[in-house]
Symmetry: C2
Subunit: 397 residues, 2 copies
């Protein structure tokens, strides 16, 4: 039914982000300007800002977070003084940033523009976190067929529980992912958290929604990230080491938990991966590293399976064997992930691309992995109702 | 600086909408299903729903209007059971629907998908209109540099006043546009308002913000509209009379009224028109009919000038000469416009395309104009901070 084309002639020539965190000293606009400047700085041969022809802007909850629900193109055009150029704002839950990148890539692939900006941002800490932001927005989903009292930790926790029940997965497995991602974050100067945690700390942490404790949940974070896309034949005007956009996939699945057919996996991830692999002409075995949507540690574990890194139910074993570790053969969330780096919703999918940019160019410092040639980013939004997957390589396909 | 390509190989093969209005008997989801079904029905040779590969969904204020700020792809995937296909939600103020169409067209032009859906919707009447919706959202813009107490009628009214002062435009001119668009609406079974109004009624109506009275303002409306886009070489599988996407343009301009350089025109309209005309390879003289963003009657008058139908300051004369009337040489808002048909924000830009679809195919019934070959749609959002213009023809470019 989805017979998408197998070519996406688009290259990344710049990628940058501000350090994520509790940025009380920066406004929403400040963060956007910061990420934009970091992105410009990353362009090896420099770029004339005036050559950027259009922009896509990913932000998810500006109504709840900065009291400006309708952002429109002005959300980016205003802080960057980007006028009169076109700006499109995209909201696709936790895939807002990565779907912005997909739409920008389509415009470049269609030959409409030569050089475009993708920027994602979310300001989540200026509103008190108790009974706010995600909780406020969550209430919006509480209609007659969605149970009252449900929250993100509860909804994702139910998947963790189902996986434990069906496959014998232990709470320790989820904890291992927290330890891994905190360690990666400690090596990433742009991460919110900079500290290691121990398995014991994670296991003994206060429970948010069983089996998920406070260290199994990603933090509420401020942040912004940006990338520049161009045509492959123009990429070398900006850098001798571009990153190439190999494939993209987006899939939808029922939103309401009561309509899900299974609680041990996300069909949207499977379908988005299928589309992205097909467009990229590869399989999961070809991926060298992946930035996965670890909104909760259990989500990362289940995603190993949905994305084809191992078979359904074998995520715990695959984790125990060390594959997703920094020195494993398929490192996951080398940036620290949402868990360690933070999860400013609209920025997340773009920041994942920033991590691939640094890894594929051997610029990731202490957390640099070996043989990084093909990377994947994954975002799961709206409790699995949407998934966005993008694949990049260090050479043209 | 914006050197966009001059080709957009995309065709419209279906377009439909529900009747706009105060739809207390229809939920947000009901409207979406209704518009989708009307769109499917409009496809001459029929369409297998399963052949639709992806969708773009335009909606502007679901947080304020239906208490679901984050809609994501689920906003469309859920009511249409569209899973597992990709859906992107776009918010670009009053250009949300038309920019959704632009982004969908880019994906088709890039050859990624063969057949895609664009759907716009907004549910505005289920929340009491006093101190709500636009007013609620408007408060979000009230920070230190935006004056408190400003509202859409006040902001657009200031442009009307400036135009009166600088060019001698009369309140009667704005009233003439209300009379015209109400008349067109009376001939459109899908319009909210079905009644004519007299110049006297409009002139004597209660003032909202001088010089704009209640009949100068578009209503707060519920509604949804949808179109189907495909590649031109596949269009004849669906209809012998496709409509072709000739050009698109989006431009941004300062958001805050205090940063505007002039109050007698919108630079974003001029720039978006320039882009769209260039891509379409035409000029304003080639346009046979236009759906313009008459959120207020004065906006339509000023847009005649910004879009190049006449020179700056000559809008009143051009109107008096009858050009934009139903029997004029360049009919504007034959659908009734936002003023007569209604303005459910996310649906508006898509519904404008529905009107062009009917006019270019000689299916507009009592309001059918002669010689409709090239049509233009225009949306101005965020008090002129964004403009989206799309151009269509009844033959390939």
């Amino acid at each position: 039914m989805i017979k998408q084309k197998k070519e996406l002639p688009v290259a990344v020539v710049g990628a940058g982000m501000i350090r994520f965190g509790e940025l009380f000293d920066q406004s929403y606009d400040d963060m956007i300007v910061g990420a934009y400047r970091e992105c410009l700085k990353s362009v090896d041969k420099g770029v004339d800002e005036e050559d950027i022809e259009a922009a896509w802007f990913g932000t998810c909850l500006p109504g709840a977070t900065v009291r400006r629900e309708a952002m429109g193109g002005a959300g980016l055009a205003e802080p960057l003084r980007f006028y009169p150029r076109p700006v499109t704002r995209i909201e696709n839950y936790c895939g807002s940033g990565s779907d912005s990148c997909r739409n920008a890539a389509f415009a470049v692939a269609a030959g409409i523009y030569d050089l475009v900006l993708v920027l994602g941002a979310e300001k989540m800490r200026d509103i008190p976190s108790r009974d706010s932001i995600i909780a406020q927005v969550g209430r919006g989903f509480h209609n007659w067929w969605a149970p009252r009292g449900s929250s993100s930790p509860q909804r994702f926790g139910s998947y963790a529980l189902a996986h434990m029940k069906q496959f014998g997965t232990k709470k320790e497995h989820f904890a291992m992912i927290a330890v891994k991602n905190h360690h990666h974050a400690s090596l990433n100067p742009k991460s919110y958290f900079q500290n290691d945690v121990t398995l014991e700390q994670v296991m003994n942490a206060p429970i948010v929604s069983w089996p998920l404790g406070i260290f199994d949940a990603c933090p509420t974070t401020d942040g912004a990230a940006a990338v520049l896309l161009t045509r492959p034949d123009k990429a070398h005007e900006y850098t001798d080491r571009p990153m190439y956009f190999w494939g993209t996939g987006v899939a939808t699945d029922p939103f309401y938990v009561s309509n899900k057919k299974s609680y041990v996996g996300w069909p949207a991830t499977e379908e988005a991966a299928r589309q992205a692999y097909e467009m990229a002409g590869i399989g999961p075995e070809d991926i060298d590293l992946a930035e996965l949507h670890d909104c909760f540690t259990s989500t990362e574990l289940i995603t190993y399976e949905d994305i084809g890194f191992c078979k359904k139910g074998e995520g715990p074993k695959w984790l125990e064997e060390g594959h997703p570790m920094l020195d494993g053969d398929k490192p996951c969330n080398t940036s620290g992930g949402l868990k360690g780096k933070g999860h400013p919703i609209g920025a997340t999918g773009v920041a994942q691309i920033v991590e691939l940019w640094q890894q594929l160019r051997d610029e990731a410092g202490e957390r640099q992995i070996k043989n990084a040639h093909i990377g994947l980013t994954h975002n799961l939004g709206g409790i699995g109702s949407i998934c966005v997957i993008n694949v990049f390589g260090d050479e043209p396909r």
